[in-house]
Symmetry: C2
C-alpha cells in the first residue's frame, strides 16, 4: 500500500471530505479529490476554496486531519436518482477538457476517466432528466481518428435503439469536436433524437470553466427537444448568459481559447439556450421514428491540402481523395493544374474549398477557376474544408464512379450545404 493510501486510511479520510494537510510547517485546506491515474502515487489532490485543485506530495511525516465529512456529496453519489416521470438521456464520455484533471507532475491537463463524475459535476442535470453515463474512450481530441468516429456512431445508435433514450450527450475535446460532429452527421441516419456534442474551453478546476453550463444545457437539449440531428453546444459569448446550438456540419472552432470559440459558419445557429429555456431559431430535422441506422464506411486515404504561394506540384501527394483549401472563390496557382489533372486522370477525387472559411466557392468567375473545373475539380459550395474532408471520406466509401462521387459531393446529405450564403 502506498504512503498516500496508508495515511488517508489511518485518519479515515474519504473523497469529498474537507481535510487539512500539514507538511514542513505549511498548511493546506480543501476537499479531498479522487486520485488521478496520471498523478504520482503519493500526490494528494485537494480542491481549494478558490476553486483551484492543487497536488501535495505526502510522506510519513505529513499530518492529515478531517475538518468536515463530505456527507452531502457521498449521499448523492450513493443514490443516483431515477424519476420515471422524466426522460432519460445517455452521456457517452470521450475525454477532453470538459472532463479534465491536472497532472501535477507536469502541470499539464489530462482527460478524466469516469462518466459518473461528469454527471455529478453538474447534479442539476437530475432535475431535468435521468442519466445513463458511461465512458466510450478517454482521448485528447487531437488524437481522435476515423475509427473512433465509427465506434462512437455505433455506441450512440446502441443507446437510442437498445435503451430508448431521448437524446445522447457526448462530452468531447474541443480541438476536433467539429470533425467528429460532421462524421457522426454523415454516419447516423434516421436519428430518433438529438446527439449533442459538448465541450469546455476551460477545465472544471478553473473558476472560469464553461464545463458546468455547457453540460447542463446539453442535457436540456438532449431531453427536451425534438431535434433529429447531430449538434454542437457551446458558450454563445464570453460570459455565462447563453449557449448556442450549432448544426454539426456547419460549425467550426474559431478561437484558440475563448469560451465562445465555436461559430456557425455561413448559417445562423439552430438555436440558443438561455436560463434553462431553449429557443430554436431556424428549421432543423425532426427526430424520426424507428431505429437509428449506422452507415460508417469511410475511405481513409484522403487529405486536406492548404494552398500557399510557392506550392510546388510535387507537394501534392497521390491519394484517393484530396480536399484543397484554395484561395478566394476556389483557386490555386495555374502551374499546379497539370499535376492536379494527372492525379484526377489517375483516379484521385479532388474537391475545392476556400481558406477564407466564410462564403461559398464559385469557380466560374475567374479563368483559374474555370480551368480547374475543366480538369474535373469538384467545387464544394459553402462547405467547410473540414466537413468536405469528412464527407469525401464517406462518399469515396460509398461510390466509385466519378459522376456518382460528384453527384454525392454536391448533394446536401446532412445540412452541410446551405441554399444560399446568409452573409453573401
Amino acid at each position: 500500500m502506498s504512503i498516500r493510501k496508508e495515511i488517508l486510511e489511518r485518519v479515515g479520510a474519504k473523497e469529498g471530505d474537507v481535510i487539512r494537510i500539514k507538511k514542513k510547517g505549511k498548511t493546506y485546506e480543501g476537499i479531498l479529490m479522487p486520485h488521478h491515474e496520471f498523478s504520482d502515487e503519493n500526490i494528494v489532490t485537494i480542491k481549494l476554496k478558490n476553486g483551484y485543485n492543487i497536488g501535495v506530495e505526502v510522506n510519513r511525516d505529513t499530518e492529515i486531519e478531517i475538518l468536515e465529512k463530505g456527507e452531502e456529496k457521498e449521499r448523492l453519489k450513493a443514490s443516483v436518482p431515477f424519476d420515471p416521470e422524466k426522460k432519460t438521456i445517455s452521456i457517452l464520455g470521450t475525454g477532453g477538457t470538459i472532463a479534465c484533471y491536472v497532472d501535477y507532475r507536469t502541470g499539464a491537463v489530462h482527460p478524466a476517466y469516469s462518466a459518473d463524475d461528469l454527471a455529478f459535476s453538474a447534479p442539476e442535470i437530475f432535475d431535468v432528466c435521468n442519466v445513463r453515463a458511461r465512458i466510450v474512450y478517454q482521448l485528447l481530441s487531437e488524437n481522435m481518428e476515423v475509427d473512433h468516429w465509427r465506434r462512437l456512431a455505433r455506441e450512440i445508435a446502441k443507446e437510442f435503439n437498445g435503451n430508448a433514450v431521448s437524446g445522447v450527450v457526448v462530452p468531447h475535446g474541443t480541438d476536433t469536436m467539429s470533425y467528429t460532429a460532421a462524421a457522426l452527421s454523415f454516419m447516423l441516419k434516421n436519428l430518433t433524437g438529438p446527439v449533442v456534442l459538448v465541450g469546455a474551453q476551460r477545465s472544471s478546476d478553473r473558476p472560469s470553466s464553461d464545463a458546468y453550463q455547457n453540460l447542463l444545457d446539453a442535457a436540456l437539449v438532449a431531453s427536451k427537444t425534438d431535434i433529429g440531428e447531430v449538434v454542437v453546444l457551446m458558450h454563445g459569448e464570453s460570459s455565462d448568459s447563453y449557449t448556442v446550438i450549432h448544426r454539426g456540419t456547419k460549425v467550426r472552432k474559431m478561437h484558440t481559447s475563448r469560451r465562445d470559440a465555436f461559430k456557425s459558419i455561413n448559417v445562423p445557429p439552430l438555436g440558443i439556450v438561455s436560463n434553462g429555456e431553449i429557443k430554436l431559431l431556424q428549421g432543423y430535422r425532426k427526430r424520426e421514428e424507428g431505429e437509428v441506422l449506422v452507415d460508417d464506411k469511410m475511405e481513409k486515404d484522403v487529405s486536406i491540402m492548404y494552398f500557399y504561394p510557392g506550392m510546388e506540384p510535387d507537394d501534392i501527394p497521390r491519394k484517393k481523395g484530396i480536399v484543397l483549401m484554395g484561395t478566394g472563390l476556389g483557386h490555386v496557382s495555374s502551374r499546379l493544374i497539370p499535376r492536379l489533372k494527372e492525379l484526377i486522370d489517375d483516379g484521385t477525387t479532388i474537391v475545392m474549398t476556400s481558406q477564407c472559411i466564410y462564403g461559398r466557392v464559385n469557380m466560374n468567375v475567374y479563368s483559374t477557376g474555370r480551368d480547374l473545373l475543366k480538369i474535373g475539380v469538384i467545387p464544394c459550395e459553402d462547405m467547410l474544408p473540414e466537413v468536405a474532408y469528412v464527407k469525401l471520406m464517406w462518399v469515396l466509401a460509398h461510390a466509385t464512379d466519378m459522376e456518382e462521387i460528384k453527384r454525392l459531393m454536391l448533394t446536401n446529405l446532412a445540412g452541410e450545404i446551405s441554399e444560399r450564403s446568409y452573409f453573401a
Copy 2:
C-alpha cells in the same frame, strides 16, 4: 485590318464615345470601351447605362453610329494633371479584380494592363494628389510567388528612394494579397511612407464594385498619412460607408465574396477612412527619414501543413521549414510526434500556428503541446498561419543556427505578434 477596326474607323468611333450598334434587328447602346487583348478580334465592348460591360461580335453587316463624342474623357486623358502644391504617390499595378476586364469568349474575368486606366478609373484621385502610375506585372494573385514579392519590394523602394513619393499604392488581387502584404512587411525596412495594398472583391464593370472607393481611399492614405508600414485597405462593411486600414501582418481574407472580406485578426485595425476623412485608431510605425532598404532574401523550401484527424506521419514532407496549422491551442495527434522529431533532428524548422485562425497558441496547457515543445516545435504566438509561413521563409534565409531561428521567430519584427490577444 480586322472587321472591327474597319467598321469603327469608317464611322470614326473612338474609345469613350457613346455608340449605337445595330445587328440582326437588335440594338445596343453604350460607351465604346478599349479592346481587350484576350477578347476575340471582332468583339466590340461597350459599357451599358446600367454599368455592365457587354461584348458584341461585329461583321460586315453590322451598323455602328456615334451618338455622342466622348470629349470630356478624351480631354482628361490628354492632360494628366500635375499640381506642384500636392504630394505625389505611385500606383504600381500588379493585376487582380481591381483592374479587371471580362473576357467575352469565356465569360471569365482577366486582369487589365494599364496603370493609367487604373488611375483614370477614379479621376477624383487627382483632387488629392499627383499620380505616377506603372504596371509591375499582370497577375491573378493566386499565381503570385516569392520572386514576385521580391521584385515588388524593389520596385516600391525605387519609387520612394528615386522619386521621393509620399506613398505607394499597390492594386493587387485579393486572393493572396495578405501573403504579399506580409512579405513586403518583412522585406521593406525604414519605410519613408505608407505602402497601401488595395484590391476589389467586385470588378469595376459591376455596379456593386468596390474598386473605385478602395482605390480613392488608398490614395488618400498614401498621400495624407505619416504611416511607415505596409497596410491593406479594403471595405469595412458591405455598403460603401467606410474603408479599413489593416496592418499588413495582421490581416486575412475571411470571406470568398463579401466586399468587407478582409479582417484584422487578434488586433483592432490601424484605422478607417470615412467620407474622405482618415481616422487612425491605434499605434502605428511612423514614416522614417532616409532611404528605404530592401532585405528580400527568402528560403523557398517551406510549406504549410494543415493538420486533420487521420493525418499519417508520411504525410509530412521533408522541408527546410514547415508551418503546422494545428488544432486549438497548437496540437497535432501524438502519433505524428516521432516523425516531427525525426525531421527537427535532421534540421527542419517546424513552427506551430492554429487552424482556429483567431487567438494565440499556448502549448503549455495540454500534454500534447508540451510534448511538441520538448521536441523543438516553435509556438508562433498569435501569428496568422500565412504570416508565419512568409516570416519563416524570411528567417530561414537570415539565420542557420536553431537558437537564432527560434529567437527571430519569437521576436516581433513587423507587428506580426501582438502583445496580448485583444479578444482573449
